[in-house]
Symmetry: C2
Subunit: 239 residues, 2 copies
């Protein structure tokens, strides 16, 4: 694919993931915005194929739509990523949030070859808490007033533009590459099982504590070494 | 209007001007993007009234559409502004261009009460050279490849978001407030007349030199003092 030549490692390793998008024109606008800012990989949590309307707004970006990957859920769409950032305009009780600016700075602390997923929710509902657990970080894009939220294409554009124009694009990575989300979540499941065995997690606090543990371990972006330490801590260290 | 309370002086004094927009959905998207980033004033070079379709995409931003001002041409739409920035993706021979980043830095060098117009052209054709002469500065928004250009709503959004999130929002002005565009252009006309009288401008170079003079004097953002100096120079100093 000759048009990939101008893409940097970073842009090549970033995937935009739209979760249950409702409006096909928005999918096309996202593809156009990706083309403008140099991104290529688009995944959808969506029952394909794409309706023709998506192609109408994807001016000069049909190739991005032709290579869209479809997934049945957020879990499957994110399991091969190593860091997942989820956009959300609504703060939630069990999750911590950072700004768009902080998120992009975070991205640049990791090696350029880290596989990064950017998760954007449905136009009306956004991402549910059950979908948010599959991300390492949640971020909000600054806006003047809570209503209206940014249009889906706008939210994607502001995020990609900030990455594309980040000033220290060539800076050195300061962190190690995390495990895949799939392996991160396996580790989280093992910890949650231990906590259930120990009755730290029980019927009444289960949803709340589970989400908080996902958020906490997610933010660590664990490597294999971290995983071994965490599992040792939770099987032996905590009684 | 209570919702104006959160607006800063700067946002109150900035007007988005869409020139011959074709697609009413884009007008609505622009209004929504303005609402998200705290801007209020929308002018259109457009034969009103707005088609109902514009309201469909202007989620929570109908009030901006209700107060749209219509103008027959760019000259009329800009004459009460004091600085006009025109977005253009195509470089032109007779005009100089700056980046979006430089444009926004420029805005913050002037007093917050300076009346600023942000000019965006038709979706397919952009701004013509005849329209560009009514601006002080021309800017381009960075993009990876020349095609496709940014969608109209996207170009407006990236510009407004950059102003809205500018880090030194409270910095001091370093420049004096310019004359209105109307007075700036009166001065340019007087200079052009002098240059025609002196045969510096003639039939064959007229279009070219006129556009270059507009660009040169435009970039000066002239005050009343500057105007007097310029007119004195061109009537007496240059022979």
């Amino acid at each position: 694919m000759p048009e990939l030549n101008h893409l940097s490692d970073l842009e090549r390793n970033i995937t935009v993931i739209l979760v249950r998008p409702e409006n096909p024109e928005n999918i096309g606008l996202v593809a156009r915005n990706m083309k403008n800012t140099g991104f290529q990989n688009l995944s959808l949590v969506y029952k394909g194929p794409l309706p023709p309307k998506a192609y109408v707004t994807a001016v000069h970006a049909h190739n991005i739509l032709d290579e869209v990957q479809f997934f049945p859920g957020v879990k499957q769409a994110t399991e091969n990523q190593q860091m997942v950032f989820a956009a959300s305009s609504k703060p939630r009780k069990n999750f911590s949030f950072m700004s768009l600016k902080e998120s992009v700075e975070k991205i640049f602390r990791f090696p350029r070859s880290t596989k990064i997923g950017l998760l954007f929710g449905n136009e009306r509902t956004g991402l549910t808490s059950e979908e948010l657990v599959h991300s390492n970080f949640k971020f909000t894009i600054p806006q003047v007033s809570p209503q209206p939220s940014y249009n889906l294409g706008s939210a994607v554009l502001l995020t990609l533009f900030r990455i594309f124009t980040f000033p220290s694009f060539s800076g050195e990575a300061q962190e190690d590459k995390p495990l895949s989300r799939e392996k991160q979540e396996e580790c989280i499941h093992q910890i949650l099982n231990k906590l259930e065995q120990k009755r730290f997690i029980h019927e009444t606090n289960k949803r709340h504590v589970t989400q908080m543990i996902y958020d906490l371990i997610g933010r660590m972006c664990i490597t294999d070494k971290d995983r071994r330490l965490l599992l040792a801590l939770f099987s032996k260290g905590i009684r």
